[in-house]
Each structure stands twice: as C-alpha cells, then as structure tokens.
C-alpha cells in the first residue's frame, strides 16, 4: 500500500529523505503547476515558481504541523511565491495585462473546454477572485481550505469565489451567444 502524504511528510521531517520528498512532488506537481499556470498565464514562469514552491516546502517542512492537509499547505506556499513574483514584476505585468486586454477586445471567446479561453476568462477576474476560483475549482479545495491557503477569512473567500464564478459564467455565456 502506498504511503500517505502524512507518512511521507513525517519521513522527510525526520530524515530529510529525498526519495520521500520526490514522491510528494510527483503526487502534487500537477496541482501546483496547474494552479500557478492558471494564475500566471505564463507556463514557463509558472513552472519556475512551482520549482521554487517545492524547494521552499522542503526547506520549511518542519513548520508543517499537520493541522490541515499537505495539499493546502503546499498551495499556500505556491500562492506566496506567486505574490512575491507578482510584486517583483508589477510593471512588466501592467504591460502584459494591457496586451492581453487588447487581445480580448479583438477576439471573441470560443468555448470553455479550450485552455486558452479558460485563461482568457480567468484574466477578467481580479487577482484575489482568480486565486480563490483556481483553488476551489482547479485544486478541488473546500472554501475553508482555500481560506487557509490564501490566509483570508472564510466569508471573503466565499465572496471572491461567487463573484469570480459569476464573471466566468457571464464570459462563457457571451461565448455561447457569439458561437
């Protein structure tokens, strides 16, 4: 039987075991990379941030108390890495956002199954709304897990998810009218 996340984490804390941490990476890499790709809209940057996330997690794994899930602890580190990176490239982001806004105006949305369209739809959300929606719908977290990862009150996360969801619904409804 495969070891649980809690068992692997305990092994890494006790022995700094690379193989055990490798298994944790293998299990959660798609979640972290997927989450960061949806938030950054830049796959190369998202992968760099995902690597930084796992390295940071390894360095501070002793601080994981096991009160929440390993997944939500990891996502909170990923979100912190994303915020740090976003702060660093704020001016570059403004240019990127303007470029993306131009693309949105010139192209009609197609369908929801398309990854590019999903990213374009997410680009219409505010940063906090996007983070909350991604955590709940992409990472499969409950509202309270997302609140813990985002370090926000539960009510605020619920509001962000509801507003974000409504905006996405409007975006894709427009797509269906257009098609």
């Amino acid at each position: 039987m495969a070891a649980t996340d809690a068992e692997l984490t305990a092994l890494v804390i006790a022995t700094r075991n690379d193989a055990a941490f490798g298994e944790l990476i293998r299990r959660h890499q798609s979640l972290v990379r997927g989450m960061l790709q949806r938030m950054c809209r830049n796959h190369a940057l998202a992968d760099d941030l995902a690597q930084d996330t796992f390295i940071r997690a390894f360095e501070k794994i002793g601080s994981f108390k096991g009160t929440g899930t390993f997944k939500s602890w990891l996502c909170s580190i990923a979100y912190t890495e994303f915020l740090k990176s976003a702060r660093k490239r704020k001016s570059a982001d403004r240019v990127l956002e303007k470029f993306q806004a131009d693309v949105e105006e010139s192209e009609a949305p197609r369908d929801m199954g398309n990854v590019v369209d999903l990213d374009r739809a997410l680009a219409t959300l505010k940063e906090e709304e996007r983070a909350a929606v991604v955590m709940c719908y992409s990472c499969g977290m409950s509202h309270s897990e997302a609140a813990e990862s985002l370090n926000m009150p539960l009510g605020t996360v619920k509001s962000h998810v509801n507003r974000g969801r409504a905006k996405l619904q409007a975006f894709f409804a427009e797509a269906e009218v257009t098609v």
């Binding site: 293998r26 890499q29 798609s30 719908y137 992409s138």
Partner: protein, 113 residues
C-alpha cells in the same frame, strides 16, 4: 440539478482538462527530477557568496600568518615545538589557505534550513 451545479461541473471539467497534460507520468518525472536536482545543488548565487567570503577570509588570514609565526619564541624543546621553525611561513600560509578552502567546501553543499 440546478443550472449553477451544471456550470460548476463544466468549470471543474475545464480546469481538469487544462491540468491533464501535467498529469502524464513523463511530465511528473521530469519535473520531480528538476526539483530534486536543484535541492541537491545549492544555487549559484549562494555558491558565489560563500566562495567569495571564504576566499577573502582565507586571503586575509594568509597575509597575517607570516608575521604571527616569524617572531615566535618557543620555550620548550622537542620535535613538535619546532614545527614552526621547520615549516616555512609560505608553507604554513598555504596550509591555512587549504584548511579555509576545505571548510568552505564542507559548508557549500549544505543548505541553510
């Protein structure tokens, strides 16, 4: 089932669809290998910082050694007490540098946790 539930399901399916390529075993293994390699090798900036600090420190220590040992008065007899006279100051400086370099080499592969 309400319209909202249907939209939630579509949204979850869209996210799962976007994430699907990342779940391929080859993708997972390649990414895991990259992270483990980075964990095994400390970053270049850290190597440069520690290496620079170690080299500067050992260079400063090396310049002080000759003055320290050349005026030494040894009150005892015996082979060990004469080591300072048998070994030239340059050789001692070289040994001190080698020790400093060795200590830096020991510290470099370790990560600060």
């Amino acid at each position: 089932m309400t319209m909202e539930d249907a939209f939630d399901q579509r949204l979850k399916a869209a996210f799962a669809n976007a994430q699907a390529p990342l779940e391929q075993p080859a993708q997972a293994d390649a990414f895991t290998e990259k992270v483990l390699k980075r964990l095994a090798n400390p970053d270049r900036k850290r190597v440069l910082l520690l290496g620079g600090a170690g080299s500067t420190g050992s260079a400063v220590a090396g310049t002080q050694l000759e003055g320290l040992f050349s005026n030494m008065q040894m009150p005892t007899d015996g082979l060990l007490s004469n080591v300072a006279f048998l070994v030239s100051p340059e050789a001692m400086a070289a040994m001190a540098l080698a020790m400093a370099a060795g200590m830096v080499a020991l510290v470099l592969p370790r990560r600060i946790v």
